[in-house]
Structure formats: C-alpha cells, structure tokens
C-alpha cells in the first residue's frame, strides 16, 4: 500500500455557537479552576475547561470525609464548596482569561432566582464563554438535584438562566430519571443551546466495622468507569431526542470511552474522575480520537458523531 499524506483530521466542533478546537473538555469539580493542573496539562490543548460549580454566595461545602474510592469509581460529596461568583471572578478569571482555552462556568443555586442572578453576573465577564447549568448535583440537601429530577423545575431553571444571559447555556442532567429524553427535550424547549449528561449517580458506602456511612454527608455521587455504560445509554437516548448538541460525561478514562459517546451521538465529551489518576489524560484522549479518525479515514467530526450502526 502506498502512503499518501492525508490531511490531519479536523477535530473542531461547535457547541451552541461556541467553537472548540476539539471535543474534549474537563468536567466540573475535577479540574479545579485550571490553575491547579496547568503545569502538567497545557490548558490550550483542551477543547474547553468546565470550572468547579459556582453559586451566588460563597459556599463552605460538606464536612469531611468527602471522597472515597470504590472498585471502578469514586463516591464524592464535596458539597459544592466555592468562593461565590464574585470570588470566582476576582480570584480565577484573571488567570483563565490569559489562557487560550474556552472557559465554561458551571453554575448552581438553591433557588431559581439564584441561578438567574449568577447567570446575569457572568454575562459579559471577559473570558467566560458558556454556562453549564448544574441541575443535578446529588450532594446538597436542597435545590440542585431536585431541579434535575422534576421536568417542570428543570425547564424553569433553564428558562430563568436563558432570560439572564447571552452566553451559550448547557444544562447538566441527572442520570437517575425514568425518561432522559423528556428532560433533554424540556431543557431544549426552555432555550438550552446544548445539553450535558451525566452528573454522578446517587450512591452510598458503609464502613461495616463501625456501621457508619463513610462520607460525612452519608451519601454522595458515584463517578468513574463504573458509570460509563449507564452514561452511554443515556447519551444515546438524549441525542436521539433533541436537535441541540449533547455532551457525554461519565467514566471517560481513555480514547475508547470518548469514542463511544461520540459514536452514540454526543458532539463533545467531558473527562472527570480520570484526571485524578492521570492529569494528562485529556491530551491522550484527544490524540486517541485523532488516531481513530485517521484509521477510519474520517476527516471531520461530522463523520464520527452519531455514527452508530444499529442493526
């Protein structure tokens, strides 16, 4: 066989008007504010960075222990500790703004008005490229998850955020609902530009010797390889139900899992827990997707996204 120098595959994707150089982002809560990992994972190589969840006022989060490793996964209950939207803008945006990486700010609130206010505050802040609306955190007592498991509440949060920002918005869905397609459609109708899924799955670990829950919060959210096949099915169903781009999250720890999401119909993916084990994993995934596209003679992401063969 003669080798011809095929042009390198184009990994660029557009998510709600936001152009990403490749479809690989790092997930909220697992990459801090970028500064923490920048020495070992050049931020400019990422498709985008999604920062830790931001609320209107600073939040102290849960008591400790907050995280435990289980076979194939992690269960966390950090409790959305963050410096509040003003603290975030002052402490972290000067650093992020100077990096050539799209910044997606993950936002949350205990009431719908809080989501709306955080969104309004971030609109127009230089360097903020999009908002990921967390309606699915399993780790706070009120709000959060409640919005993500009730159709009307999910739509109401998204509509309120939509009314307060010109930025692209991508609600982040909870996995533990009976009909994911209905949620994806509800947020699309409420004005979402894309939809991200999944957040961690509600979970609990018990220390049998002490008969106490391991996490101070009693329960938390399961992430990592253990949830990946669950996420693939939900992404597949969501992608078939909506016109807006879907972002696949859950258990990506190498190129194969990312490719599964893309083939299932996701336009981009996020890497969460795997950053902890290999801080440079995102680079490996980007390289692996490009390799795959070369091997399968694909020139653009359009050839790959939603390319599932179902008999």
């Amino acid at each position: 066989m003669t080798k011809t120098a095929a042009p390198p595959p184009d990994l660029a994707v557009t998510i709600g008007g936001l152009r990403l150089r490749n479809p690989v982002m790092v997930a909220s809560g697992t990459f801090g504010y970028g500064v923490e990992y920048a020495d070992v994972m050049p931020l400019a190589e990422l498709g985008a960075i999604v920062v830790k969840g931001i609320s209107l006022a600073p939040c102290a989060g849960n008591a400790t222990p907050r995280l435990v490793e289980v076979p194939g996964g992690l269960v966390n209950a950090i409790g959305l500790q963050n410096p509040g939207v003003e603290g975030f803008i002052a402490q972290y945006m000067p650093f992020l703004r100077r990096r050539a990486v799209p910044v997606v700010v993950n936002i949350w609130g205990r009431r719908i008005e809080e989501y709306a206010e955080v969104a309004a505050r971030l609109d127009g802040v230089p360097g903020v490229h999009a908002l990921e609306v967390n309606i699915s955190c399993p780790n706070i007592k009120d709000g959060g998850h409640v919005f993500g498991t009730r159709l009307d509440a999910a739509a109401a949060v998204v509509a309120a955020v939509r009314a307060n920002t010109r930025l692209p918005i991508m609600p982040k869905l909870a996995p533990n609902v009976s009909d994911i397609a209905a949620f994806a459609q509800a947020v699309e109708a409420a004005g979402a530009d894309a939809v991200a899924l999944i957040n961690s799955y509600p979970a609990m670990v018990i220390d049998v010797e002490t008969r106490r829950p391991v996490l101070a919060n009693v329960s938390g959210g399961l992430s990592g390889p253990a949830i990946h096949p669950i996420a693939v099915k939900l992404v597949y169903e969501a992608a078939r139900a909506v016109q807006i781009p879907v972002i696949g999250i859950g258990g990506v720890s190498g190129p194969r899992e990312a490719l599964e999401f893309l083939i299932a119909g996701a336009s981009a993916v996020q890497i969460g827990s795997a950053n902890f084990g290999d801080p440079a994993v995102a680079g490996r995934v980007i390289e692996g997707i490009a390799d795959y596209m070369r091997r399968h003679a694909m020139s653009s992401m359009r050839d790959l996204i939603g390319s599932l063969n179902v008999l």
Binding site: G29, T30, F31, G32, E36, Y37, D39, V40, K52, A60, G61, T64, P65, R66, L67, V68, E69, P71, G72, G73, L74, N76, I78, Q81, G224, P225, S273, A274, N275, F276, G277, D278, P279, A280
Partner: protein, 264 residues
C-alpha cells in the same frame, strides 16, 4: 509540579512491615523540598482511580526515596514492584516545612522533631538539609514501628524512642520522653517543633508548643482525590484571624503552622 514516568531503582525492607522504595527521577527529585510529597500512579490494582500520596523521605542526584507501609490494596500491590518497573510520578506536591535560609545571620532555633510511624519519612529529608542538628522523638506501637533511627543518628541527631509495648526505648507514647526532655529544658529555652504522624500525636505536639510559647509545624495526612488542590476532598479547618476557613491539605499543606489548625 511535574509528571514523570520513573523507574524503580531499589525496593528494600526498612524494618517491620515498612519498605523503602527508591525511584529514578530527574526533575522531581531535584526540585523537592522537605515536607513535600509525591503521588504515585500505580498500574495495579487495575481498577484504582486515584493516585497514592507519599512523603518524600530522601531525594537528590536523580533519585527519590519513599518509606511506605502496606496497609490497603494500593500499597499491598506496591510490594510487587521490582527494580526496572516503571510507574507514574507526580510532584513535588504541596508546601513543606519552613527551612531557615542557609545564609541567615543567626543560627535557627533548636529543631525538635516528633514522629510516629511513617512520620519519620519527611522529617529525615528535613534533618538532612536543616542548617542545625537537633533531636528526634519517635514513637510507635512496637519496636517494629520504629524506623530509620540509625540514619538520623548518623546525621548527628539525638534520637529518643518510645514504644507502647515497651519493646524498644521507653515504655509509653512519644510524649513520655518528650515531656521528660521538655521538663529538663531551661524555662526560657526556645526551639521549633516539626511533627508528622497520627493526628493525636500532632495535637499533643501542638499543645506542648502552645504551652511553651514555641512554634510547631505539623504535617497532616488526609485522604486525597487529586493531590493538587483541584477537588476539595482533603480539606482541614483552619483559623484565619478568628474566622474558620478550609485549607486544602494537598496544596496549602500538608505542613501547617499548628496554631492555625482547628483540632476536632
């Protein structure tokens, strides 16, 4: 902070169940400061998600040594590491012990090290680099938990040992010989404490430092996620001018001024 693929150079028994693992590391070994740690990315167990954090016990000339005890699935899998095996090394991580400038006009205060278990590890690197020799108080459940004392003695440090079963050194906790020594000190004697070990030990040192108007630097051990300050799993309550704040043990620590810690 750097990410390296490093190679096992030596892996040997250090006494009791503890092992000394020496890794080839060009950039991290030369950059690490006493009290900083590294995290190891292990190939086994295959389903482990997290890296494992270890204090750096010795470093220099392209070599880095950790002292570890097999306690769970990750550290037990480490027992199988052989010379030539490779593993992923991330570091140096965190903030270590404050080191007096080597060109200071006055010699630093007498350093008093207090260790339990693997706590001797970061203190050994400190002892090797500190501009003044001092004392080491080390405690453990049995003589099998007392490690590296001859290495400290070889550096010219005065070593005091206590074991809870009396099998080595004084019978009791490390505070037994420490209190005897403190009681014999001049009333206005000044020294600095450096401690690493179980929380109870660190708290005991902090109390003695506070009572004597001395400073104590303690190295905390918390379950970690990322080890670099990104996930907020490892937080510890700190006093910040009367206000209680969270500090990240991996990034703001693991070494803290004991007076800042909210002991719970």
């Amino acid at each position: 902070m750097q990410l390296e693929t490093s190679t096992v150079m030596e892996h040997e028994l250090a006494g009791g169940d503890y092992r000394l693992l020496t890794l080839a590391s060009q950039r991290i070994a030369d950059a690490v400061l006493p009290g900083q740690f590294v995290s190891l990315g292990l190939a086994a167990p295959a389903d482990a998600i997290l890296r494992r954090p270890f204090s750096v016990c010795d470093a220099g000339a392209g070599r880095l040594t950790i002292l570890y005890k097999p306690v769970g699935r990750g550290t037990r899998a480490m027992l199988a590491l052989r010379a030539g095996d490779s593993l992923s090394l991330l570091g140096p991580l965190g903030h270590g012990f404050p080191m007096p400038p080597s060109d200071a006009a006055q010699p630093p205060l007498l350093p008093v090290l207090v260790a339990g278990g693997y706590g001797v590890a970061p203190l050994y690197l400190l002892a090797r680099r500190y501009p003044r020799r001092g004392l080491l108080f080390v405690g453990g459940a049995t003589g099998r938990d007392i490690l590296m004392t001859s290495a400290f003695a070889a550096l010219g440090w005065e070593v005091h040992v206590a074991t809870e079963d009396g099998s080595l050194g004084e019978h009791g906790r490390v505070t037994t010989p420490l209190d005897t020594w403190l009681a014999a000190c001049e009333v206005d004697a000044k020294h600095d404490f450096f401690a690493c070990g179980p929380t109870g030990l660190l708290h005991a040192v902090a109390q003695r430092a506070a009572a004597g108007g001395q400073r104590a630097w303690v190295s905390l051990d918390r379950h970690m996620g990322c080890g670099v300050g990104a996930c907020l799993a490892c937080v510890q309550r700190l006093n910040n001018d009367g206000e209680k704040v969270w500090g990240r043990v991996c990034k703001d620590g693991p070494v803290f001024d004991a007076a800042r810690i909210v002991w719970e």
